[in-house]
Amino acid sequence: MPATARQPASHPRPEAIRIEGLRKSFGPLEVLKGVSLRACEGDVVAIIGGSGSGKSTMLRCINFLETPSSGRIVIGGEEIALRADGTPASRKQIEKARQSLGMVFQQFNLWTHKTILENLIEVPVHVLGTPKADAVARARKLLARVGLAEKESAYPAFLSGGQQQRAAIARALAIEPRAMLFDEPTSALDPELVGEVLGVIRDLAAEGRTMILVTHEMKFAREVASHVIYLHNGVVEEEGPPDALFGSPKSDRLKQFLKSVA
């Protein structure tokens, strides 16, 4: 099997996502204390860290599911305008940025009152204005790709967790995003279903998709990521190429963390 971990290419690629000095507090609790991240097109950035390290919050700040307290966020070269308190200045700009980011959640979050196919065409047809026939054709291709061609008329509740998550990935791909955001995509799955979802994500990485992935699957992160960020208590404790980070961790905290999850 060819290694899918890629080194940053020598020629410069356009930047997809950049966050700088991001801070986020929930009340008196500061969960992100000035973190930064940069992903160029084709990069797969894995964010790892213990429970409560702020990794999910960091990911959710990228598409403003959490409102940062301060910091800069640049999506596709366009900086999101923020007010002094960190809230977005323009709802339209946020919506446009979100339409270029395919988010996959831990709990799948498929719309239960819609069939799988309806889930996939909802945003393309009603938000992006894609003609319905085109959206359906594209959705069918995506479903075939994640191995769910037979399930297009099924409702989400009648699918296994692994199938639901693969459908959710297809739904995120259906908006033809610039980058994919994965928030612990396998954490809610039974162990025997994890493999099928990781397989889909691995394929996406191999075809050069830009992805930011919050995960507990260390082996998988090492295999697919081009860059790994280790968060601890809201700060980037260590980052670098996966082989360096997992092979010869520098900080004691990361060594300890890797030992605890091994």
Partner: protein, 247 residues
Amino acid sequence: MTGALALGSTLDLLAYSPPGWGANLLRGLWNSVLIALGAFGLGLVIGTAGAYGKLYGGPVTRDLLAVYTTVVRAVPELVLILILYFAVTDVVNQLLVAWGQSRIQISGVAAGITVLGVVQGAYATEVLRGAILAVPAGQIEAARAMGMPPFLLARRITLPAMLSFAIPGLANLWLVATKDTALLAVVGFGELTQETRQAAGTTKAFFTFFLAAGVLYLALSLVSGVIFGRIEKWARRGQPNVGGSGR
């Protein structure tokens, strides 16, 4: 023999064409259904706006809505009908006079729909608020995460998703609406109860007419049950059956 006679005269009383009173009763039923439909519809509109206001509105909106739902649900419907019917008519006419227009007679249907709609709206606000809260937050978040604007999100995701949670409560509200139309008899509106009272008072056949009215209300309720059963089945289409629905 006398039994057959009594039955014959009862049927004569309920006959559709005069001297039977059947047409009057059916007209009353029609008016009741019309008002109930209007009030229920108005209640849904007020309730949807009220539920969103209570969930996502600012502090002033939330306080005003709390006053509305508290007051309307605390005061007996009969009292509200008397207050709203006479007070609203009075206020409208005073305004008209102040603007140099002539007084108008507010139609019983419009007044009935408005009054009962305001009452229904207060209950519907709470039913819909609860139903919206029952929609898994992740489903709303998924739509936001893909850049869906708020109004579209409500129409395409939240409202359809909450329907299955709201239907049992809304079916109750509809039945309450059909029966609350009877309260409009106090302001002399010709709905089913008022028509029945008139027929019974004129013929002195109280038992016959009120029994007939009861049967009509029951029939309305049974038909409603079937319709709401179908709506609920449709609203729950994506959910596995966990041991039978409400009906």
